[in-house]
Symmetry: C2
Subunit: 696 residues, 2 copies
Amino acid sequence: MSLAKSYLMLSGAILSLLAGSVSARADEGMWTFDHLPKAALQKNYGFQPDAAWIQHVVQSSARLAEGCSASFVSADGLVMTNHHCANSCLSALSDKTHDYFRDGFHTQSLAEERQCPGMELDRLDGITDVSSQVAQATKGRQGAAYNAAVQEVESRLTKACAAGDAEHWRCDMVALYHGGQTALYRYRRYKDVRVVMAPEQDIAFFGGDPDNFNYPRYDIDLSMLRVYEDGKPVHTPFLQFDPKGPKAGDLVFTSGNPGRTQRGLPAAALAFQRDIANPAIIDIFSVREGMLWQYARESAEHARQAEDTLFGVQNALKSYSGTEAALRSSDIVAQRAKEDAALQAWIDADPARRAEYGQPFAVVDKAIGVQKDLFARNLALHMALHGLAGDAMTLVEGARERAKPDAKRHAGYHDAQLGEIETELAASEPVYPELETASLALALTSLRQILGADDPLVRTALGNDSPDAVAARLVKETRLADPAIRTALWHGGQAAIDKATDPMVIFARTLFPAYDALRERMLNEVSAPLHKAEGDIARARFAQAQAAGRLDAIYPDATFSPRLSFGTVQGWRQDGADIPPFTDFAGMYRHATGSEPFALPKRWLDAKARLDLSTHLDFVSTNDIVGGNSGSPVLDRQGHAVGLIFDGNLPSLAGDLYYDIGSNRAVSTDTSAIIAALRTVYAEPALADELVRGHR
Amino acid sequence: MSLAKSYLMLSGAILSLLAGSVSARADEGMWTFDHLPKAALQKNYGFQPDAAWIQHVVQSSARLAEGCSASFVSADGLVMTNHHCANSCLSALSDKTHDYFRDGFHTQSLAEERQCPGMELDRLDGITDVSSQVAQATKGRQGAAYNAAVQEVESRLTKACAAGDAEHWRCDMVALYHGGQTALYRYRRYKDVRVVMAPEQDIAFFGGDPDNFNYPRYDIDLSMLRVYEDGKPVHTPFLQFDPKGPKAGDLVFTSGNPGRTQRGLPAAALAFQRDIANPAIIDIFSVREGMLWQYARESAEHARQAEDTLFGVQNALKSYSGTEAALRSSDIVAQRAKEDAALQAWIDADPARRAEYGQPFAVVDKAIGVQKDLFARNLALHMALHGLAGDAMTLVEGARERAKPDAKRHAGYHDAQLGEIETELAASEPVYPELETASLALALTSLRQILGADDPLVRTALGNDSPDAVAARLVKETRLADPAIRTALWHGGQAAIDKATDPMVIFARTLFPAYDALRERMLNEVSAPLHKAEGDIARARFAQAQAAGRLDAIYPDATFSPRLSFGTVQGWRQDGADIPPFTDFAGMYRHATGSEPFALPKRWLDAKARLDLSTHLDFVSTNDIVGGNSGSPVLDRQGHAVGLIFDGNLPSLAGDLYYDIGSNRAVSTDTSAIIAALRTVYAEPALADELVRGHR
């Protein structure tokens, strides 16, 4: 799976967790370009990036608004990113006679390059620390007045920054260190992005799900785009493309936009994930995987129905299992406990700090205690509220929430969000009754297994029937598969819900009191105190570093804004074996069994004799990346592009929570493979020349 | 699930682990009757069992050779044990016109009591410490000479003990503390055991798998047997049956035969189970559960085919998950690490001890390191070698092993064990091709997921095909489903295997080198050093306690021989809620939805109005029990029977490894429920009177 997708997946998880930032260790860190760890780089690598180097990297890097990173690789607006970052574009351009996933996308001239609908690319222009403006504007304000002041200053600063030209400039106020620092990020905004080249899906995602997050890998997860303005390619700074790729042991950088991390979680929250949350999620998802796997085997039609869901479940399982295995094999919890204690001691040592930050770790402990009691119940209930049962609960909950003033509603039901719900309810996504029944029956079986048959919630859900009988009856008799019915019930509000006779709506209505009570406890006793403590901890860490004059030794949690990470090209040791850093074309051909997902495209089979099989294909490095870094360029000391980030290894999945140099590895496609593919496999010498030359 | 069954299940697990014994904490311990913790009982409960009390309990207790415990409850040979301990008897006696599981078994006179085929009951008569005889006989001997000496002394002592009357006496030499102490256990042996009464399976195992290992429970897991000699009921000491049952907070004892524990595992081995082994097993079994669950939903025929396997998988999952949750929520690993360090320090403090015990924990660390590297591979491979693929590997391995001298063969292939293999290969167990294919395909999919597509073992297993294609072809084309073919291949030896063209045999033959190499490493680098270290640690602990004169503060690992445990009737706290110690008939009726497995037998529905619904049904106590304790009587201070052990709660599943008074609970049927059932539900006043009166 791509980093972008896995990030989305993880961010959608129902866990309620914390965030913060801690001191960085060797090669750890996603650094803002205005606070690079120059001392550490000098000490560990004898390298000191100067202002020109930094500015060049910043201006050659880019962010795709959909959730990826990218880089300019020629003076004529050519952009390199991942294949999976262009998925929506290739999908939109494909039609009955063109399947650009299967066949790839190729152009011979600018005229053939086609605009990607809705794609936006942003290029960082500058960073301004606006902490003092924000502090001044919010000084002495609390609660609603504080929020209003923040909104006012944000609106004022971002408007001034875009200078009335929102078409070309985008300005984001970014809260770093959970509000310890605030920066204004100004981007040059490009909305005419065209696809130039994409290989076949079968080489871009060669190995499919079995290889996903694993290494060795053999993928060319590449797409080439071109940015236009006024109908012509733009001219910007760009990264010189090095067709030789990196060597083992090289210092390399990644310039990208990591999406979200929680690097400062207190030890108690990490232990909760390791001991309670992840195991429970892995168990329940594993059973679901087995169910879907067998469902898909029953017929070609069932395989088609279950494909997406099965892929999603397997992907989530890899994420959670990878994180869990890493957490278990690491001493991060014990380390963090010491850091937590040290921070609390620093707070306690000063009355002003005590007043400012209080006892956030005690707050965390208490909230986690409640979460331990509620987690399994919450998980099991939410697993049952998927599909049509989920729609039914949205209708029931939505009716109640919309009756409240906007400010008092639960997250997801604010006026600004209703359109999204309505679009989803009105969408004609197919409903497969057999799959729907199997899913609901399994979820209800798990609910009963987890909570016990006598639990009031289980009794409410099942009455005196078996999970299978309840699911079969609900799916058979409900009419919620019809978008018109869903929409009518939505617009009918509380009155329509109250008098609905649809059995799935009745099911949701009956469960609602228990669902609502549980959510209230999760919000009031878990999420809210954790969120408050999260901010206090992160701000205390920032203040401590600032007071000690060592801001370049800490980095803020990821915020999907431009960051630089550094590391070296090197393998790691796993299960008693050394995993080497590079793969090559020879390995790729050995890896190809001919059966999906290990079937190479015909062009690759045909090209075998013409390729230098020792050419490096993919490599791993110690760079600290997470989802959102997909498409990031890998740079050498000269700032030349030597690779293209597209994944992490399995242990890197814990990168959300912490970085472990022993096992966490970023996975890139080597630029030497890209050049060989363009020249030898795809016969696109012009594009290859543009990369090597730096212009068309 | 019953304790007896769960024990069998766990003992069949492929984990290679250690055993030992550590100092007991409050209520912990499975004590031999000749070393009861009298000081602790006096201190904690103000109770001192005298010699008469002990002898009475010993002589009223019994062991069923199949793997259960029992007790005499009248002067006329009446025996109380669990329903699930009489499963094989009820099954053997049932026929086309009698279903004693569905309907129960009832008698009105001695003449109607029917002999249970093959059932043997043993009653402990005496214990003799023979450590010095064993030490003398083995003095100065090593290796084969040592083993021969042990065999010689065992044969001599047990023969003398049975005094030439093996029909009536059974003598077992029991190695306690892994050889730190050896005792001779003499049992009176009874081979005419008849069934007197058994309730319906639907009340004996009410709640089925969903309730299994959970609590609150509502089961009457009872069967009444009677022991005969010379065609008449025997007269033995017996426990007075107390029809009132216990009260909350009462001190209670269990007298039974715990099967096997590993209470002395070093911290490294516990951590390995917690962090590596259990999670991997739970993951792979969970996926299998989901597959089987869906397979069973496909048709009534599939449900029938998958039923046993699904139940077995769910039961194993509960065992492992319960153990895992307990390990995660406990500080046992940290505690044990301190105990390990202290024991090593004690060893190190004396040259003689250093020579005797060495550095066993360092040996463990090294072996566990290798096991970490091999575990996932070993697990995934063994999951694939089930069913017909497993038979094929048995044939391939068996041919090779039988060509060796007996002493050099691997475990399972010694001459004395070949009959068992031959019986299994010749058995006409049905093979369901669809289920067989699904199982193998899933196992091969997991193998590829876990090891990666490029792993040589995976390449050997799959070639260039998908897991599904390989499994479908093998199951379709093999003839191993035919017992005659399997038997012929077995008897054909290596020559038959070498020239076999059956694709499943070829599959096993091809995998054999990798399988064999892996097994050799597991044996030589993991099991053998762990086993050696296990003995050293256990013997060192025993010697340390002996030297300190505190043998009554430690207890040996369970050995399926008579033990006494003690504790109090009390609930526990779970997920923020207090679980009360008792259930009652009112709860049972509330629990009954009418759908299986929550459907009560008709007799119970009819009797509702006549029953006192506040009668206690089941209860939990802190007694330290494990599998093998099924059927143990629960006794009060007077030595009266107040309950009947039949299960443990979920946290008790970690009882194999350690005892945690905070959550580990034994689950019993209350004697007050037994009396009410006999009098009011089953109208068996004579049997009830015999219990209360103590004779017919």
